[in-house]
């Protein structure tokens, strides 16, 4: 076997598998014809030929020592990683693709650009898509039990007091609601509950299909059509499984934020919160769509819903005057937060109320078909 004087070689330290971590100086030379390296211990005449395919070589980093594990367990430590690369290349062993990319500024810039694009795309489309698909696998009975637990908790904490509406009135409303969605195919089972929470006007839907109306909103409504509109909105939440999808999206965003931000958990939490709010507003808009769609199908005037929202906005403005200032100062003008004290955390915040009122007003300009 010939060894030309041009064959690249590199010096190394040998730590035997059975030695006591005492280094022996060795030289490694390429043997291109045989696809092997020749290992010679300094001071010995003999060389040992080892096929490069049997070597376990550590990745090339610029200033780090590199390590080669020989078959048999001995380890070579090489200070000059670049020279080792040349020796191995001459013998037919090249860097892995990922390693090459990491050393190429062109690939680095490509990675940077693609990563940014992928991150944005994931945030806008990928995460919602994935979590929504996951939502289909969660059984409805789980969510219903969760509903019962949450409502029980709220009653125990006295956030929810018994309704002051008469049973007849409640039944009347329930029938009106049922009629409104009777034409919907594949309507999920919903249960409507009536409670009182001070004089707060609001309604909310829980993931398992329980819809709660508070006395305040029933009293504030100009007519029952508006209440049907509210029911249709909440029904939209249930049909599109917003409660569960929001939970799952939050979970996935949390996992990604934890991976990316690592040590900086406070920044991660801020990012998660912002994402939560954005996804929530999307859901609210979709529920408004459902409300308009159902009301139109029932030939109900959406203006009554707009009027109800106006009254709720004014009620909120009057009762929480002190809070509005700080909220307005902190948040960008596009969104206004409606936060009730003990509503469970996974319920969403809403888009700008003015825009919603306008939308409901405008929805009736489309004349129902004769």
């Amino acid at each position: 076997m010939t060894q030309t004087s041009q064959a690249p070689r590199v010096s190394a330290r040998l730590y035997a598998a059975t030695g006591a971590a005492i280094a022996r100086p060795v030289t490694l030379a390429a043997s291109p014809e045989t696809g092997a390296v020749l290992l010679s211990v300094d001071g010995d005449v003999e060389t040992r030929q080892i096929a490069v395919r049997t070597l376990d070589v550590s990745e090339r980093f610029t200033h780090a020592t590199r390590r080669i594990t020989l078959p048999g367990g001995d380890v070579l430590e090489v200070d000059d990683g670049a020279q080792l690369g040349r020796v191995l290349a001459a013998a037919g062993l090249h860097d892995a693709p990922v390693t090459r990319w990491q050393h190429s500024w062109r690939m680095v810039i490509v990675s940077l650009v693609l990563s940014v694009i992928a991150a944005v795309a994931g945030y806008v489309w990928g995460l919602p898509f994935a979590s929504d698909h996951l939502a289909r696998f969660v059984p409805a009975s789980w969510m219903q039990s969760l509903d019962d637990v949450v409502m029980g908790q709220m009653q125990r904490q006295d956030s929810l007091e018994p309704s002051t509406l008469t049973p007849e009135r409640q039944e009347q409303l329930r029938n009106a609601f049922k009629a409104a969605v009777s034409s919907q195919s594949n309507a999920p089972a919903v249960n409507v509950y009536f409670f009182k929470m001070g004089d707060t006007p609001n309604a909310f839907a829980l993931p398992g299909g329980s819809i709660v109306f508070l006395d305040g909103i029933v009293k504030a409504a100009p007519n029952d059509d508006a209440l049907v509109g509210v029911f249709a909105h909440e029904f939209g939440h249930v049909v599109h499984r917003h409660g569960l999808r929001n939970l799952l999206r939050t979970a996935m965003v949390s996992a990604v934020a934890a991976w990316y931000f690592g040590d900086f958990t406070s920044i991660a939490n801020a990012a998660i919160l912002m994402t939560q709010l954005k996804y929530s507003r999307d859901f609210e808009t979709q529920a408004d769509d459902t409300a308009i769609e159902i009301m139109r199908a029932q030939k109900l005037d959406t203006k009554s819903l707009a009027e109800l929202f106006r009254r709720m906005r004014d009620h909120r403005g009057a009762g929480e005057h002190d809070h509005d200032h700080s909220d307005a100062a902190k948040e960008p003008p596009a969104k206004v937060k409606t936060k009730l004290p003990s509503i469970p955390e996974f319920l969403s915040t809403h888009p700008d109320i003015e825009r919603r009122i306008e939308r409901f007003e405008g929805a009736t300009s489309v004349a129902p078909k004769p």
Partner: protein
């Protein structure tokens, strides 16, 4: 450098000590680096014959090089929906280990990405479980109950997969030992949390008070838990057959945290004084019929805001002080380590690096990580002589070979 699990993301069950402390314990690169035996006297006639009394650690990595590695791995992780992150983590550990030098040789990491992938899947399931409103208490209880077991596996995995000059380290602490170290504090925490939770169910006011007391108690007991975990880790860690030893008590941990508390209070006092002074002046000018000085209010806001931001520096304060405290009190084969991280400089550097990371939306992070790692690693040294190291390494070969390297149950949970 290591990313801990953030189970608090989005919700706030009481923070678990271990989620934070697993970082310094389970394979922070600098600590693995520091668990090193001294150099043997080699037959290579290139070193000076008189061994120096103290051998320092060196770090040869660079921020720009690590950035290139990091960004390529980020892309691959995104494209594989997170699965490649296990390989990326192995690469990161090898980068830091291979660039950490002691007496001319560097360290190496041999862990399999599959084991790390298993750990990450567990972590994702955990985080998901913590989002569900009622379920999260159950998930948290399970996590706390299984934590000692997870800790022992994780430590064993990391140490058995760390080597220096073809010598593997080992962790010989038992699962029972982990439970013993953590049982009382964690048990008390779970019991207190459960009682508070049940109380809140029936008596919201009393229950809330109990919960607050529980959380305060947690912060008081936290340093002690951290100390017990460190003891467990140090005494189980072996370089070959020689164990490490810890010579400090829990008291030193409390000293560090009291300094941290004092730092926060001092800054808080400064903020209060600034605020009170300017608000007082404004009140006076308002009373005299003047206008609200908006410009001054903005400046005050900035000043007070800066003070609160400076409070963030309590994190590097604790990290640096703890590193010095712990490693000065750690020995191998009877010889102590040295650690001289300059605390104020480390805090200022950390603040600057964090600021740069935030304004670049995280892209500066690899540079920051390398810079801070260098400060921490190059502050370390070992006082053992060459003879001591030879003795340590000679013993190693008879006992440590064949340890749990290929155990299929090996998982790694310190993200």
């Amino acid at each position: 450098m290591n990313e801990p699990i953030a189970p608090n993301a989005g919700r706030t069950p009481p923070p678990t000590p271990s989620a934070l402390e697993l970082v310094p314990l389970a394979a922070t690169a600098s600590e693995q680096a520091a668990a090193a035996p001294p150099p043997p006297s080699t037959p290579i006639p290139m070193r000076a014959n008189a061994p120096s009394p103290v051998q320092r650690f060196e770090f040869t990595g660079s921020g720009s090089e690590y950035f290139k590695i990091w960004i390529v791995n980020v892309l691959l992780t995104i494209v594989t929906l997170g699965i490649y992150s296990a390989w990326a983590k192995v690469r990161r550990l090898r980068y830091f280990y291979n660039n950490t030098r002691f007496a001319g040789s560097s360290f190496d990491f041999h862990g399999s990405p599959i084991a790390i992938l298993k750990g990450r899947i567990i972590a994702v399931v955990l985080i998901a479980g913590l989002q569900v409103p009622i379920l999260n208490f159950l998930v948290l209880a399970l996590y706390l109950a299984g934590l000692p077991w997870l800790l022992q596996r994780s430590l064993r995995f990391h140490m058995a997969n760390t080597s220096y000059r073809n010598l593997r380290f080992a962790f010989l602490g038992t699962v029972k030992g982990a439970y013993a170290a953590l049982l009382i504090p964690i048990g008390v925490l779970i019991a207190a949390g459960a009682i508070s939770g049940l109380a809140m169910w029936k008596f919201p006011v009393v229950g809330s008070i109990l919960l607050i007391i529980t959380m305060l108690g947690f912060y008081a007991v936290g340093p002690y838990i951290q100390y017990r975990m460190r003891r467990y880790y140090t005494e189980g860690a072996h370089a070959g057959a020689s164990p490490f030893a810890l010579h400090i008590g829990a008291g030193q941990y409390y000293v560090v945290y009291l300094v941290a508390l004092g730092f926060m209070m001092a800054l808080g006092a400064v903020a209060a004084v600034v605020l009170g002074f300017t608000v007082g002046l404004d009140m006076m000018s308002l009373a005299k019929g003047g206008n609200l000085p908006v410009g001054k209010m903005i400046i005050t806001g900035i000043l007070v805001g800066s003070v609160y931001l400076a409070m963030l520096a309590v994190a590097p304060l604790v990290v640096a002080m703890l590193q010095n405290t712990i490693w000065r009190g750690t020995s191998l084969a009877g010889k102590r380590f040295k650690s001289d991280v300059p605390v104020p400089k480390f805090m200022l550097t950390w603040l600057g690096q964090t600021f740069l990371t935030v304004i670049t939306l995280g892209l500066y992070r690899p540079f920051a990580v390398v810079k801070l790692a260098r400060m921490r690693i190059e502050a370390m040294a070992w006082t053992g002589s060459a003879d001591t190291m030879i003795a340590v390494l000679r013993e190693a070969n008879q006992k440590a070979v064949g340890s749990e390297v290929s155990d299929l149950m090996d998982i790694d949970i310190a993200l």
